[in-house]
């Protein structure tokens, strides 16, 4: 028998990742926190409820149009705390650096993290630095772990999603994924698209004002909007209908996707939120969101439908419905 190996697709954030996590971690690490189905865990610490979330950032290149790994690592964790319904407070940073990495680059990244923390209203409170031999890392990897206070007025567990609810996305999709992809070796095109890398703490505050009318939210990072919608469908046991033409999408992103045979709905976003809200509040929420620069392109893209539990259906221009699956594995540029 061949021994099973970890493949890149296991880290794509799509179905392979889900299967790996389920088969390797869920069964051995079984505890109620892991089953909360959030972007982090909601914990009781003494009298206080807090959210905790962790992410490692392993991006190539480290500096990309619209951001860098430092900024990304802070905002990524801030946005996961927001998605948990928390007010982000503190962030830890664990750096793994490849021998030979430039001290100047490191200083840039550290400064970028600091600036990002300031902008997102969090503090970088503790850190760790490890160095590994040349060739045993890829420049620098950063883990950030964040904690925040759970807002008492909200509850963003996916089982609060109800039929008829509206689905909002807070801006144009796929920009981060495309901006980074354009930097890859072997892909010699250039694009004006920059990463959407931005913190969503103010979006979180805004949505908190709507209390329980906001059901649930998730930031569509790895695996993109399609994967997040599928996760929510699975976790809530409801289905989603999403109208293709209502999804905010920059034509430049769309053009690049057509060229490379990719689907923007599976490209990563680093400054967007998919939000499920009560139908009646949807229009007001979108209008509110559009007042913030970070969510000015917010739009209702679909609604919750009980009849297709666990599924996401995309309504095409012609009115047909087709399944929008999870990302199966990494998208690779292709010619056919």
């Amino acid at each position: 028998m061949r021994t099973r190996k970890i493949l890149l697709g296991h880290g794509s954030g799509g179905r392979m990742t889900q299967e790996l996590v389920n088969s390797v971690f869920k069964k051995t690490w079984a505890n109620p926190y892991l089953d909360q189905m959030l972007d982090g865990a909601i914990l009781e610490v003494g009298s206080q409820r807090i959210a905790m979330t962790t992410d490692s950032f392993v991006i190539t290149p480290l500096f990309f149009p619209g951001g860098d790994i430092g900024k990304l690592s802070v905002y990524g964790t801030v946005n996961d705390l927001v998605a948990c319904g928390a007010r982000p407070l503190y962030v830890s940073a664990g750096l793994i650096i490849e021998e030979g990495f430039g001290v100047e680059e490191l200083e840039k990244i550290a400064a970028s993290m600091s600036k990002a923390a300031l902008e997102a209203g969090v503090q970088l409170v503790t850190g760790d630095t490890k160095v590994v031999e040349k060739g045993k890392a890829d420049g620098i990897f950063i883990n950030t772990t964040g904690i925040g206070i759970i807002r008492t007025e909200v509850d963003y567990r996916p089982d609060r999603i109800k039929p008829g609810d509206a689905v909002i996305v807070t801006g144009k999709v796929g920009e981060h994924g495309l901006a980074v992809l354009a930097q890859r070796e072997g892909l010699s095109f250039s694009t004006p698209v920059t990463s959407d890398c931005q913190p969503l703490h103010r979006v979180g505050e805004l949505l908190a004002r709507y209390g329980q009318e906001v059901r649930c939210m998730r930031d569509p990072t790895r695996g993109g909007v399609a994967t997040v919608l599928n996760e929510l469908a699975q976790q809530s046991g409801t289905g989603f209908i999403v109208r293709e033409e209502d999804i905010p999408l920059d034509p430049v992103v769309q053009g690049a996707c057509e060229m490379l045979g990719l689907d923007a709905l599976y490209l990563a976003n680093e400054g967007k939120m998919v939000v499920v809200v009560a139908k009646d509040a949807a229009q007001a929420i979108v209008e509110d969101l559009r007042q913030l620069p970070e969510s000015r392109d917010s739009a209702v893209i679909g609604y919750v439908k009980d009849e297709v539990p666990g599924l996401v259906l995309l309504e095409t221009e012609l009115g047909a419905h087709r399944i929008l699956n999870m990302l199966e594995s990494d998208q690779l540029p292709r010619i056919c």
Binding site: L7, T316, L318, L332, C336
Partner: protein
């Protein structure tokens, strides 16, 4: 585009007036994907069947060929360069993706020119480009080989698995069990070949052919034109995709293929060996022919138990009718090649069409 939507609805309304049982085959995988993505299949009447043909270069690549390429990728010093399409295609025991995880240097590019660049940057190693695709892709690879030859780039070569559209169509139509009434012909292949590959289809098999583009509107027009031919009782080659395709194709591209390649028998997954259906590198470019440069033992074709790719590729069954579909065979763990490529019929059906519940 309100206008185009209105127009699409009018085309569709008209298509729905067709009451006879009609089976149209889209040869090209890009069509398969476009049809699946647009949900078109659920909009046309059930008596109008849209079958998928052998037009996904990934799907038709023989497992023994994949095995040979994997063997090559394992050689120390080799950089294997490929389109993203090929990474997950299963050989008998592994795939390029798995070999990469085991340590082989396998790289994905968008253009064969990028492979040339990789060869230049790694002078002490052997860069091998895996050439796949039909007549659309073959000219690009031919020009790349000529460029390597012109600049004397000694550490670059191409492993050619290129295939030709004409012989594949012949294999489909010569099979009695295949019931196809008309052909949605591949727009981009035709941009190179022109109408020529479809001439036997109309002359020998009397099936209408429409060279069609890839927008939803294009496809609707293509179907509409096919139905019109069928209703009029004619079998001609029409070009719907006139903004790209000229009847004569692109003679320069044809000449490039001709200069560098020569037709050879090729093994097609699911269809077996088809005479003169592949492209081998000519003797004079032997120095850039990886099959000549590397001594790789020929792989053996193994039958994949239960996989009905062969029938899917000839339109004998739809992917749904394969017992492995969606169960043992999914895009993450594909059993057959039709599940691998984005444009493989099985993958397209899996991704976009698994449910009709709405």
């Amino acid at each position: 585009m309100r206008n185009s939507k209105e127009y699409a609805e009018r085309l569709l309304a008209d298509i729905k007036r067709e009451k006879r049982e009609v089976s149209l085959m889209e040869v090209c995988g890009t069509h398969t994907v476009a049809i699946a993505r647009s949900g078109l299949r659920s909009l046309v009447p059930p008596n109008l069947k849209l079958l998928s043909g052998p037009g996904c270069p990934v799907c038709v690549t023989a497992q023994s060929d994949i095995d040979a390429v994997i063997e090559l990728a394992r050689r120390p010093g080799v950089i294997l360069v490929t389109f993203g399409d090929m990474m997950r295609v299963p050989g008998s025991e592994s795939s390029l993706q798995e070999e990469k995880a085991r340590g082989a240097d396998v790289r994905v590019v968008y253009s064969p020119s990028d492979a040339l660049e990789i060869a230049r940057q790694n002078p002490e190693r052997e860069t091998v480009f895996l050439g796949i695709g039909f007549e659309t892709t073959a000219p690009a690879v031919a020009l790349t080989i000529e460029q390597a030859a012109a600049s004397g780039l000694a550490n670059f070569s191409v492993w050619s698995l290129h295939k030709l559209v004409g012989p594949a169509l012949d294999a489909v139509f010569s099979d009695e069990s295949v019931k196809v009434d008309g052909l949605i012909c591949p727009g981009h292949v035709s941009a190179v070949t022109g109408v020529k590959p479809y001439e036997p289809v109309v002359s020998r098999y009397h099936k209408p052919c429409v060279i069609t583009g890839f927008e939803t509107l294009d496809i609707l027009e293509g179907i509409w034109l096919l139905l019109r031919q069928l209703n009029q009782g004619v079998a001609e080659i029409e070009i719907q995709y006139r903004r790209i395709v000229r009847p004569e194709g692109n003679p320069l591209a044809q000449a490039a293929i001709e200069r560098v390649f020569t037709a050879t028998d090729a093994s097609w997954r699911g269809l077996g060996i088809i005479p003169a259906s592949g492209l081998a590198i000519r003797e004079e470019y032997g120095a850039w022919d990886a099959q000549r440069r590397f001594d790789i033992p020929e792989g053996k074709e193994r039958i994949i138990k239960g996989c009905r790719c062969g029938d899917v590729l000839r339109g004998v069954i739809t992917p749904y009718e394969c017992p492995l579909f969606g169960q043992a065979c999914t895009p993450v763990k594909p059993v057959g090649p039709c599940m691998v490529s984005q444009e493989g019929a099985c993958a397209a059906y899996y991704r976009y069409g698994r449910s009709h519940r709405l």
